[in-house]
């Protein structure tokens, strides 16, 4: 699970192409985005080592694919696939990183890796703490070199994270441990 906001587009352009072609897990990304951002999927698809798309409601979750949360919905995880929701924005965000991370922890328990990248708010901190409380793994972009330090710093303050890494070292780290 990857959550990011301001500066995330540039960060994802570095992270996604560097993932191994045979990456064994599904990668699910919340990038805060406007309600009008229609072309993000196409754009990021060109920069991804793995096939990338926006899930439809109830789609199955397949390893080795990147899923981008669609605009103007929350993306949630259930036992048998994705679920979407138009509940109120959380912390002004829809999609919200917290909503995704919390739902993922509920279903996958300790088998989740939460990654927080650059962002100018605090979304994701609570979700990452929940992932940690279930025994999942938490990785945060180093606030010192992040385009915007808000989200990484909030995540580090909220929970005892497993790794704080510069952006370019995150994909190699994930390739190694997965």
């Amino acid at each position: 699970m990857v959550g990011t906001s301001y500066g995330g587009l540039a960060a994802l352009q570095i992270l996604l192409p560097a993932l191994a072609k045979d990456f064994p897990l599904p990668v699910i990304v919340v990038q805060h985005r406007s309600k009008d951002s229609d072309n993000l999927c196409e754009f990021l698809g060109r920069h991804s080592a793995l096939p990338l798309g926006e899930p439809n409601d109830k789609d199955a979750i397949t390893p080795g694919r990147v899923y981008l949360a669609p605009r103007d919905y929350h993306l949630l995880i259930e036992r048998d696939g994705f679920a979407l929701s138009t509940e109120a924005p959380v912390g002004f965000a829809r999609p919200s990183v917290n909503v995704l991370f919390e739902a993922a922890a509920d279903v996958y328990q300790g088998h989740v890796i939460g990654v927080i990248l650059t962002g100018a708010n605090t979304d994701g901190a609570r979700g990452l703490a929940k992932i940690k409380s279930y025994g999942g793994l938490c990785v945060v972009e180093d606030p010192a070199s992040a385009e915007s330090r808000g989200m990484p710093a909030a995540a580090i303050a909220a929970t005892k994270v497993d790794a704080i890494l510069p952006l370019r070292e995150i994909a190699p780290y994930l390739n190694r441990i997965c």
């Binding site: 439809n56 409601d57 669609p70 103007d72 995880i77 279903v107």
Partner: protein, 280 residues
């Protein structure tokens, strides 16, 4: 109290939620048992925080013994936050491809199933008025919660949303000034009552109620995302049965007829926007 590991606590909470939903159904007849689990859990926990109740079991006690508490839960479970002309291209396509069909009918019945606060109902009323069809249309706007319907009927929306709605309206092919349709009053706007002269707001439960009319258009956008697959199947059948031959069915952007039992009974009106026509 025993201190449980988060995973065990989570498992216990899931059991408690199943019991609460069973009770809600058997006492009040509202059936949320086949709702999508992740979002219903979020909403129940959110309601509990608002009611300052710590455990689902304690909340169940309140819900089952206190009608007002139940009504608040019902509202919490049925509100979804939409926009007027949400997904403007959907309305633009509706104008281009559905309106010409509707022009050929002497009268038109439209059903907004799960209308929540009515944003999309008023959007449709505006569109029909601009196309000169409103007078021969009746829009049935239904939801399960009385409170939500009361709000929808009022037609009052926050002034702060108007910039976004105006932008949507323009991109949806709006023909006038969006502000022609409402009057601002402090922090809110009220939409002109003329827009609801042909709208019937009424309670209807997609989960337990049957078909109540035959319609030329049924819109059920971003409503079934809250249902599990079993319940989605039921509602797809209900909608199919409530639609006249060659009637039009509209879904939300991230919903699909694929893998539903009725997928072969419709043809696509548009490849991008989720508009379908019943063909058998």
């Amino acid at each position: 109290m025993m201190s449980a590991l988060p995973a065990e606590q989570n498992q216990l909470e899931d059991i408690e939620i199943a019991l609460l939903l069973e009770g809600l159904y058997r006492v009040y007849g509202f059936d949320f048992r086949d709702y999508s689990s992740a979002s219903i859990k979020r909403r129940i926990l959110e309601r509990m925080r608002a009611e300052k109740i710590a455990s689902v079991s304690a909340y169940q006690d309140s819900v089952l013994h206190d009608d007002a508490c139940m009504e608040r839960l019902l509202t919490g479970l049925s509100v979804h936050v939409s926009s007027m002309f949400r997904d403007p291209s959907f309305y633009a396509t509706f104008r281009a491809k559905v309106i010409p069909i509707l022009r050929t009918y002497p009268t038109v019945r439209i059903w907004h199933a799960g209308c929540s606060m009515g944003e999309e109902v008023y959007s449709m009323a505006i569109l029909l008025q601009e196309e000169g069809l409103y007078r021969k249309c009746v829009i049935y706007a239904t939801d399960i919660s009385r409170e939500v319907l009361r709000k929808a009927r009022e037609g009052i929306f926050p002034l702060a949303s108007m910039q976004e709605y105006t932008n949507n309206y323009m991109r949806a092919g709006g023909k006038h000034e969006f502000s022609d349709y409402y009057t601002a009053h402090y922090d809110n706007v009220i939409f002109h009552p003329a827009l609801k002269t042909n709208v019937v707001f009424s309670e209807h439960n997609l989960v337990t109620d049957g078909s109540f009319n035959e319609f030329h258009v049924i819109l059920c956008r971003n409503v079934m995302i809250y249902f599990n697959k079993t319940l989605q199947t039921r509602v797809h059948n209900l909608i199919y049965e409530s639609l006249s031959m060659f009637g039009v069915f509209g879904l939300g952007n991230k919903e699909s007829l694929r893998f539903t039992p009725r997928q072969d009974f419709y043809e696509k009106l548009d490849s991008r926007d989720k508009l379908y026509r019943k063909v058998k």
